[in-house]
C-alpha cells in the first residue's frame, strides 16, 4: 500500500466486511497516522497501520549540524515532554565528552524532567478520560499543563519546543519567580490530581470501559519492545531511572509503580501513580537544592559550554571558545555512545557515533512511541472499534516521536 492512497476496499462483492480508514487526520486518533481497518460490524477483523506522515528526516539533518544545533530537533520528537528529550541529548554528549555535572545542575534538571513527565502523563490520562466520555476531568486537570508551561517559560523562555539547557548545564539559573511557580504548582497540583482520581478511579463507567480491555502479557510486551508505563502496566518493573540512574536519580527516594494485567485501566493507574512519584521527586530535589552552593548552573567546561556575552566581549579566551563552539570546532573523542533516559513513553535512547568532525557521523533516536506502536494493529484484531480508540489513547502515541 502506498502513502497518499488512503482507500482500499474489499473487492469481494459477497464480503460483509466494511473497510474503515481511521485517519490520517481523524479527531479520535490525536495525531497524524492512519489505520485501515476491516470491520465486521463494530469488531475489528484486521488492521494495517501506515505511519510517516510527519517524517522530517531528523537523523539525516543531525548528520549535518553541530551538537548544540541538534537540541531543537529533539524538542520535536515527543513534543509533550520536550525537556526530557533535550536533557537526554545533552547527557549523551556529556557522556561522550566525559563532562562531570555538578549536583546542583543535576537536581535542577531532575525538576525540569519530572515536570515534563507530569505534563506528558496529564495529557495521556486526561485524554483516556476524554475518549471514554469524561470531558470534565480533561478540562480540569489540563490547566496544570498550562502551569507547567509557565514554569518552562520562566526557565528558558519557551513553552512547547523548549530547547532547554545546554551541553554542560543549563543556559541560565532558575529565577525566584520560577521557584515560586514550582512551589505553587506543588501545592495546587496534588489537590487537583486527588480530585481527578476520585472522579475516575472508582467510576463504574470508566472501569467498564477500561478494565480488561487490551490486556497484554509480559512476554508479548517484551517481545514487541515495549518500555515505559505500558511495560510497567504489565508488571515488569523496568525504569531507566533506577536501572541505569542518570542525572543523580540514585539520590532520590521514589517508587516504580507496576500493574498486573497490562490493560488500559492499569496503564492509567501506573501513569497516575508516576505523577505522584514525580511530585515526590520534585519536593526532594527542592529540599536537596538548599544544601547545594547557590548560583551554579553549569559545569566548569569552558571549551564546551558557551560563555556569557559580557565575557565574550571583554575576555580573549571566552571569545575564542565562543567562536570555536559556534563553529562546531569542539574536541570530541572519536567514539560511539548509547545513552538512554526514561521519557514519558519509555526508554528514549540516543545512539551517537562521532568521527571527530563538526557533526555526528551518525545519530539514531530510539523512539519509544515508534516501537510501542508496532503492536497496535495486531492487538486491535478482535477488539471493538471504540475499545481500539481508547487503546490508542492509552498508548500515548505522539506523532512527532513516531515519525521523527
Amino acid at each position: 500500500m502506498k502513502h497518499n492512497q488512503p482507500v482500499y476496499t474489499d473487492n469481494d462483492p459477497q464480503s460483509e466486511l466494511v473497510t474503515l480508514n481511521l485517519g490520517p487526520t481523524h479527531p479520535a486518533t490525536h495525531g497524524v497516522f492512519q489505520n485501515v481497518l476491516q470491520l465486521d460490524g463494530e469488531r475489528i477483523v484486521s488492521g494495517v497501520s501506515t505511519i510517516g506522515y510527519i517524517h522530517r528526516a531528523f537523523e539525516k539533518i543531525a548528520e549535518h549540524r553541530p551538537f548544540y544545533q541538534i537540541t531543537p530537533l529533539t524538542d520535536r520528537l515527543n513534543y509533550c515532554s520536550s525537556p526530557i528529550n533535550n536533557m537526554g541529548w545533552h547527557m549523551t554528549v556529556e557522556k561522550l565528552l566525559n563532562i562531570q555535572i555538578p549536583k546542583r545542575v543535576d537536581y535542577l534538571r531532575v525538576i525540569i524532567m519530572e515536570l515534563a513527565r507530569i505534563s506528558d502523563h496529564i495529557i495521556c490520562n486526561t485524554i483516556i478520560a476524554q475518549d471514554t466520555g469524561a470531558t470534565t476531568t480533561f478540562l480540569y486537570l489540563f490547566q496544570f499543563r498550562e502551569h507547567i508551561y509557565e514554569i518552562y517559560e520562566e526557565i528558558c523562555g519557551a513553552r512547547l519546543t523548549t530547547n532547554i539547557g545546554r551541553i554542560g548545564g543549563l543556559e541560565r539559573d532558575f529565577n525566584d519567580i520560577a521557584f515560586a511557580k514550582i512551589n505553587k504548582f506543588l501545592k495546587e497540583f496534588p489537590v487537583a490530581l486527588r480530585e481527578f482520581e476520585s472522579l475516575l478511579n472508582r467510576n463504574r463507567i470508566f472501569i467498564d470501559r477500561t478494565a480488561g480491555v487490551a490486556e497484554v502479557t509480559q512476554e508479548n510486551a517484551l517481545s514487541f519492545g515495549w518500555t515505559g508505563p505500558l511495560l510497567r502496566a504489565t508488571g515488569v518493573d523496568y525504569d531507566v531511572r533506577t536501572s541505569e540512574p542518570y542525572s543523580s536519580y540514585q539520590d532520590f527516594d521514589f517508587e516504580i509503580p507496576v500493574g498486573t494485567s497490562g490493560d488500559i485501566y492499569d496503564r492509567y493507574l501506573v501513569r497516575n501513580e508516576e505523577m505522584w512519584q514525580s511530585v515526590r521527586i520534585i519536593e526532594q530535589a527542592l529540599e536537596k537544592l538548599k544544601s547545594e552552593p547557590a548560583g551554579i548552573f553549569h559545569a566548569d567546561v569552558p571549551e564546551f559550554y558557551l560563555p556569557g556575552k559580557e565575557q565574550v566581549y571583554n575576555n580573549m579566551e571566552a571569545l575564542i571558545y565562543h567562536f570555536k563552539i559556534v563553529m562546531g570546532e569542539i574536541d570530541a573523542p572519536k567514539a560511539e555512545v548509547y545513552h538512554a533516559v526514561e521519557g514519558g513513553n519509555g526508554e528514549l535512547g540516543f545512539y551517537l557515533i562521532n568521527d571527530g568532525g563538526r557533526t555526528p557521523y551518525r545519530l539514531h533516536f530510539r523512539r519509544p512511541s515508534f516501537i510501542n506502536y508496532s503492536m497496535f494493529a495486531k492487538m486491535s484484531e478482535g477488539m471493538l472499534l471504540s475499545d481500539a480508540i481508547i487503546n490508542m489513547s492509552s498508548m500515548n502515541i505522539i506523532a512527532g516521536e513516531l515519525d521523527a
Partner: protein
Amino acid sequence: MAKATNTEIIDLLGEKFGEQLFDVTEPYGLLTFSTTKDKVINALTFLKENGKINFNFLTDLTAVHYPEKNQIAVVYHLHSMVSGIRVRLKVFIHENEATIPTASTLWNSANWMERETYDFFGVKFEGHPDLRRILNMDDLGVHPMLKQYPLEDPNRVDKKDEYFGR
C-alpha cells in the same frame, strides 16, 4: 541472580563462538563486538536464550553507512533487564550486497525496526514477513540515509553541505 559482568559475558561468548565474534571493545562500558552475517542469528539466539546472560530485550536496531569501506554496519543493541547490562552487536555487510537474515523471528519489535532500516539504508532483511518502506513514501526510489545523498538540494549555491560542517 548475581549480576553478570562484561568479562563473564566475553568469556561465555568466547567459549561458545570463539573466533566468530571479533572486534571486542568496551566504549563507555558498553560491551561491543562484531560477527558475520551468517552467524548473526546464532549469536542473537544464544544471547537471548542463554539463562546466564539473558539478553531478552532488543532495545534498538539500526544501521550505519561507511562509504569509504563500501560497508553498511547493522547494529543491534540488546539489553538484559535482569542483570541490567547492555551489549552492542555489529554486522558489517557490503553495501552492494546489503542482505542479512531477519531478527523478527526472535523479537516482534524487530519487525518495524528492520522496516525502518530497510527504508533508510536499503538493507534487505531475508525472511522478513513484510519488508516495506515505513516512514518514507513508496516511490521515493532511494534509501536516503546513505551518505551519498546530500541533505540540501545540490544545485543550490548558498546551501552547500560544506558550509554546514560536512
